[in-house]
Every structure is written in C-alpha cells, then in structure tokens.
Amino acid sequence: MPILSRMLYYDIKRRVKDGFFIGYNLIFPLVMIFLLGYLTSESYGTEFTGYHYYTVVMLPFCVAMAMITAAYAGKEDAYRKTALRLLFSPVTKAQIVLAKLLSCTIVISLCNIMVLSSASLIIRLPIWGAFFPVILLLTIETFATCAIGLFIGLGMKNFIIVKNILNIPICAGGILAGSFYPIGTLNPKLNTVLHLSPLTWINKSIFLYVFDHAPSLLWKTAGICLAVGIIFTGLAVKFFKREEYSHGDLPGFDQ
C-alpha cells in the first residue's frame, strides 16, 4: 500500500503537469460547451439553453475521450524508458496498473468538477441539487473508460494505432448520443440504434436526474459502468505483459 500511494502521488503530480492531459480534459470540454452553446443559442428557449444541453452531453463525451489519454498514460513509461525501472523494482503489475488507473481517474474527475462548476456558475445550469450524483456518475464513467483505455494501451506498442482505433467508436458513440447535435426520433428501430451507444444512456440518466428528478436510471447506469470498470481493471492486470509495457516508441516523442 505505501508503494502504491507513492506511485499514485507521483503519477498524479505528472498528470497535473502534463499540458496535453489538462488541455484534453479541462480546456477542450469548456471550449466545446461554450462554442457549441453559442452557435446553437437561437435554437433553444430561455429556460433550457444550448449551453445547458451541451454541458450535459459534452462532459460524458469528453470522459469517453479519456480512454485515449489513459491509453497514452499506459504507454508513457515505455516512451520515457522508465518502464524498465518499474519492472525490475519490487513493484507488482497490479500496482503499476492501479497507479495509472487511479491517477487518471482522479485528475480527470477533478477536471470534470471544475468544468461542471464553471458551467453551472456561468450559464446557470440548474444542477446544484444533482451535482454530487452527476459527478459520481461521471467519475465512475471515467474509471470505466480509463480501465478500458489502459487495458488497450498496455497491450499495444504503438499509441498512434491505439488512438486511431479508439477515435472511431468514441466519435460514433458521441454522434449517436447527440454529443454534437441533438438526435431524437420516434422511429423505434432508429431509437434502438441510438441506444447502442453507452453515452446515450449516460446522457439520458443525467437529463432525467437534473431536469425530471428521476434518479433510478442514473444509479443503474453508474452500477453498469462500475462493473465494466472493475472487469477491465482485472483484465488489464491479468493480461499485463512486461515486454509490451516496456517497449514502444512514439514518433516525435521527446521527454
């Protein structure tokens, strides 16, 4: 436990200093919310604005994008050549995986809190009564996406390939969930397709909790995300390969 906490402390320290990491998880969602909210400001009413819509749908989408940052975190030690040091020191593979997973989850969750707080204050999203459950759901979603990202990142040598592969399902999921443009349909067949995206369920949970005060879907979704996170954490530890973890070059990477 002391070794894990030491690894976690330094991992968090490096994530916070990582401009790419903070840009991706703090600056990007804020820019997207305000940009898309502004562009669609004429399409919504005065009580429920475009800013409100994009705050709710953009955060879960950005959390899903964290899969890529977690995959990068998994490969980072190989690029820095420090993976070797961790492997020959008395550190277990579970400690390596957990330090990465928890540091990503904690820092991204702090970014989410800042984005949601800023959005709530600036655009008056009526979230204060639901702030804690929504943040909890987003934190659990972060845990699940980071676990999936780490599982994939630790198993592959080339981050660029990982990034290109992950971009496709995440963006497709975002489109189906209305992250870029609201999609609603009465066609049951199309509706089924929309619900194939996990992001649709997460967005729906938040909308129902914040605007209809209906909590049950949010807790169910959080439970499923937690189960997915635990499963992929177990898989990341089980299939951790020393050779894959320590090898890899990122073109242009210079620490």
Partner: protein
C-alpha cells in the same frame, strides 16, 4: 566469497531465432564482472532475463542459492540496475526522481531522505538536486541514472553501458564511483563496449558471442592465455575471439 548469482542453462529465442543458447555462469560476491560481446551477442537479453524484465524460455537463475522465482521480492530489493537508456522522468526534479525510485524499495521518512542525499552527493548532483533533468547535460543525466539505481543500496548492481555518450570528466567520475561502490561491498556486473573501462575495472571477464559464452575467466588469466598468441590488450583478445566482421543490424 561464494556465488551471489548463478545462471544455469539460460535460453531465449525471438521468432524462432535463438539469441541466448543455454548459457551458464556465476557472479561471485564482491567482484566486478565484465560482461562483453559484440552487438547482437545476447548480452542485454541475458541481463533482462536476470533482472526479470524479460521471460526466459528455459534455464534457472539462483540468488544466494535460491531460485529467484521463489524469492522474487527479496531478490528485487537486493539488485540494482543502471539501464543502458537513461530511465528518468525529465519533468520532475533530480531529487524527486531519486526519491521516487528509491521509495519503490520500501524506504520512507528520514531513511529515504538520507539515501537520496547520499546517492545525489555520491554522483556529484546534490548541487543540482532541484534542477529538472530536461535541462541537464548528457553526463549529468547518466549520473542521475546511476543515482536512481544505487539509492536503495543494492547488493548486486547491473550496469549496462553506464558511460555511453558522455564527456571524459563524467566518465572518470563514474569510473571512480564504481570502484568506491565495489569497495563498499557492492558486487557489480558491468556491461560495456569500452574495453579500456572493462580492463581498468573488472576482476573477471565473460565474453559472449552468438548467444554463447566463449570465454569466462579472471582478467589476469585471460591476458596471460592470449599474450602467447600476440594479443597486447583486451581489445586484441576480444577481436581475436569475436572476429573483425561488422555486426550491423544484429542488435
């Protein structure tokens, strides 16, 4: 002094190509063992298997007479490795680098601080402890790489080309440091392409080529054996044993 480490019938193949072919050797307590060979000889692969970074295909490794698999945590605490590549975090201070890597061995509190200070002083980096390695010279980074590997006081230290690409001053400092470490009781396995370093530092020399050990003896005996064949120094012996053909692309 007895055997600290024993390697028996160690083998490794990549994609069907045997890179380490059933090698046997031991490391005696208190010695500096020179481990040399041309590019692609299998030296780094052997070291990686010994330090448990790569899986071996066959064979056994014993530390103090015990299979390392049975005492992995004890074994890993007892060894230190100076990797060939500089393995440090360039975005945290030199002090934090040594502190972090030393803490992985279970050291904490004042003991940890003392060890970090000692390692940084030993490598001549105490004055630069607050600096970011990103701004260090090549020699300073190499010394920090060593500081991170010795702060936990390993009994057995593997050094894989610790002086590659540095200025003569830093090299001299590192060479002197290795002698001091050994005098304090650290057993060292020293891998290098610089024959003059091996000649100056090591008591015993292992020469490896094509995945096999082709010579393993005391430095003095080795020199005596090849003197009769006209070899004036270790480089002559090395070239006589491994040939002069280029080994491009074999690494």
């Amino acid at each position: 002094m007895g055997s600290l480490l024993e390697v028996k019938a160690l083998t490794k193949a990549y994609d069907g190509k045997q890179v380490v072919r059933g090698i046997n050797f031991s490391v005696q307590e208190g010695e500096i063992l020179g481990y040399i060979g041309p590019n692609g000889a299998g030296k780094s692969t052997t070291i990686k298997m010994i330090i448990d970074v790569e899986k071996k295909d066959n064979g056994e490794i014993f530390y103090c007479g015990e299979k390392i698999g049975n005492i992995m945590k004890v074994y890993k605490k007892a060894i230190g490795v100076v990797p060939q590549e500089i393995a440090i975090y360039e975005d945290i201070s030199a002090y934090d680098n040594v502190k972090f890597f030393c803490s992985l061995y279970g050291h904490k509190g004042d003991d940890l601080k003392e060890r970090v200070k000692e390692a940084l002083e030993f490598t001549g980096l105490w004055e630069h402890r607050k600096g970011l390695p990103a701004k260090f010279s090549g020699g300073m980074k190499r010394r920090l790489n060593i500081a991170c590997s010795i702060a936990h006081s390993p009994k057995l230290l593997f050094m894989d080309e610790p002086t590659a690409g540095i200025d003569p001053q830093s090299r001299k400092h590192i060479m002197e440091s290795i002698k001091i470490l050994n005098a304090r009781g650290t057993t060292i396995v020293y891998v290098s392409h610089y024959m003059e370093e091996i000649e100056a530092l090591c008591n015993r020399i292992i020469i490896m080529d094509h995945g096999e050990i082709i010579e393993d003896m005391e430095k003095s005996q080795l020199k005596l054996k090849f003197e009769k064949l006209g070899c004036k120094n270790l480089e002559d012996i090395f070239l006589r044993l491994t040939g002069t053909a280029l080994r491009d692309g074999e690494e």
